[in-house]
Amino acid sequence: MPSTAISTLTVRVLLFASYAEMLGLDAIELTFDSTATVDDAIARLRALPGGDRLPPKPLCAVNLSQVQLDALLASGDELAVLPPLAGG
């Protein structure tokens, strides 16, 4: 059986507007022991103080493009958690 090397994964998370107010922060680094999806990062955020007010399926972007919640994260990714958009 081949063995798979598992390295840790660090992503930078940005929070905006009402979400930044809920958690009292607008940026945080998250580290995972193995592969992780956007969903995993959201679960981690929701476990933080004030995080229970974050919706379970918020709009998210990775590296400046919207992504689905099952998208895989790569080390160094910038994950942005976006409140309902209000431009225009």
Partner: protein, 138 residues
């Protein structure tokens, strides 16, 4: 290529960016700050943005419109503090055919509402403050 701007948007300048003798029709759209929201009177508001992504989305939206139709498109969205009646977003689409100008202009404003990571913080007459979001269908 800064589509997000702090200073007021000058429509004449925007039009000049797309108008040309070959593009006889220009459709434009301006979104201005309203003085009410869900029945409450708004005194002033502030737009904040996830700047790098908002710029990237602006660029992508304009490129999509210019590849789908034979148009030249310009787009500006303000950030920071705005007064009632200020122009928050302005789009101009110029084409040799007015049908394409209208279609492109409409496409851009719909995508702007759907995709730009921009949020609005409204201050009401009673002093209360609220983050507003999610009205793309309005």
């Amino acid at each position: 290529m800064a589509n997000l701007v702090i200073d007021p948007i000058d429509v004449g300048t925007l039009l000049a960016l797309v108008q040309s003798p070959e593009r006889g029709g220009v459709a434009c759209f301006l979104g201005t700050v309203r003085n009410h929201h869900r029945g409450r009177e708004v005194v002033r508001l502030e737009y904040s943005a996830y700047g790098p992504m908002a710029e990237a989305e602006c660029g992508r939206i304009v490129a999509e419109a210019e590849s789908r139709w034979d148009v030249a498109v310009a787009l500006r969205h303000r950030v920071g503090e705005l007064e009632i009646g200020d122009t928050a977003v302005a789009i101009a689409a110029a084409s040799a055919h007015r049908d394409e100008a209208f279609l492109a202009c409409r496409y851009v404003i719909e995508e702007v509402k759907r995709r730009l990571p921009i949020w609005k913080r409204e201050v009401y007459t009673d002093g209360s403050v609220e983050w507003v979001g999610g009205e793309a269908g309005k």
